[in-house]
């Protein structure tokens, strides 16, 4: 399989690998995919008081394209509001990384990971608010 230079770059030098501390506040975690499907992505966002994502981290079990897709979205979500982050579409990810058709599902998974992380953050905010 021929990977694009951008995929290779993210794969060789993944950005923002890791996890936030268990007790850190303002963290939303999205975990999507399943080992049996060959991809599991865990995306974490850290949101500040103004509702802006100030940091993001990821870990991914999956092919090079899956790793690159999740690495890319950690860069893209930083500095965005939650609603702005939700506007990131898989097509943009696929285009940026020049993913071949068989790897489009990696970009879909990355989009899902953003949605899951935002939803998780909002759920925590709600429970705190009650």
């Amino acid at each position: 399989m021929a990977y694009s230079d951008k995929v290779l770059d993210h794969y060789e030098n993944p950005r923002n690998v890791g996890a936030f501390g268990k007790d850190e506040s303002g963290v939303g975690t999205g975990m999507v995919g399943a080992p049996a499907c060959g991809d599991v992505m865990k995306l974490q966002i850290k949101v500040n008081g103004q509702g802006v994502i100030e940091d993001a981290k990821f870990k991914t079990y999956g092919c090079g394209s899956a790793i690159a897709s999740s690495s890319l979205v950690t860069e893209w979500v930083k500095g965005k509001s939650l609603d702005e982050a939700l506007e990131i579409k898989n097509t943009a990810i696929a285009e940026e990384l020049a993913l071949p058709p068989v790897k489009i599902h990696c970009s879909i998974l990355a989009e899902d990971a953003i949605k899951a992380a935002v939803a998780d953050y909002r759920k925590h905010q709600e429970t705190k608010g009650e």
């Binding site: 990977y3 995919g33 079990y61 999956g62 092919c63 790793i67 599902h105 899902d112």
Partner: protein, 403 residues
Amino acid sequence: MLKFPIYLDYSATTPIDPRVVDAMIPYLSEHFGNPASRSHAYGWEAEKAVELARADVAALVNADPKEIVWTSGATESDNLAIKGAAQFYQSKGKHIITLKTEHKAVLDTCRELERQGFEVTYLDVQEDGLLNLDAFRAALRDDTTVVSVMMVNNEVGVIQPIEEIGEICRERGIIFHVDAAQATGKVDIDLQKLKVDLMSFSAHKTYGPKGIGALYVRRKPRVRLIAQMHGGGHERGMRSGTLATHQIVGMGVAFRLAREEMATENVRIGLLRDRLMNGLTDIEATYVNGDIAKRVPHNLNISFAYVEGESLIMAIKDVAVSSGSACTSASLEPSYVLRALGRNDELAHSSIRFSIGRFTTEEEVDYTIDLLHRKINKLRELSPLWEMVQEGVDLNTVQWAAH
């Protein structure tokens, strides 16, 4: 000096031994005759070379040269053996037995025979990759005519109990075919002793050229086949088509070298494989696939848990290895062989087949061990699964949000 990528995929194909190439060259030059030409020296010379090679191939497996039929490779041999015997003996019955871990050349041939009205039993293997003889006996029926079991598995390298299976088949008058493509030069094969009726060989897995193979067809007791390729009546009518002299010469020399050198070579290769195995099983959560004792010294198939197979291959592109059989690696399907051994999809996906050969060096093995350590570490740092396992989470209890 290391040359990259390091080739550890000898089970997919081997380089041709330079001594084999040297022997082939004259037949790509001045000795270019068609061995079927009976009226001049060009033809006679070619025919002589073909017969010499036939004797060399026969000698490796202790057979009579008259029992060797040239084909274009092991795939064709498997097709000719199984279709040819099943079709010839179909008045006696139409039941065939094989294993789920056979090469595609056998499995797809059996599927084709199913379309032609034959019934095929695909037997499971044990977790160690070996056939359980009781299960085999239980599967035999009165209308079983052909049994096909590979000698050495291409993915995990385990050696099936061919001698025992042969005894059982012979006792019941069942034709026994063995795919030995991965076995020649790696295990001793004595067809005077083994009760095997048909055996497939390939040159390019044993340092010979691609495009040439052979089928052993036993003469005593005589085994009959329906030819699959018709024409000029070459190979006593069993396989028509002009014989490729240079390739046949190459196979002959390759098999002669195997006979002369396998005893010492396999010791050396076994040491390298053990070095590799010890170096890699050092890594946490690794699993060797298939029985380790009943296996050729050339093979190590190992699963690295919590890393994904494709990213693993990408990470170790400095070594040329296979993540399953070469023929199926174009698809993302997990290896059906490993699944038949009871491995789950994740472990099947993250398996690597290392196959060591004649030109592998200790330096290459050491480099590979070091590379795998570094890359597995890196991928596990990236892996949410590994993180969860470190935190004591049982992954089987996790509800995955499958997409």
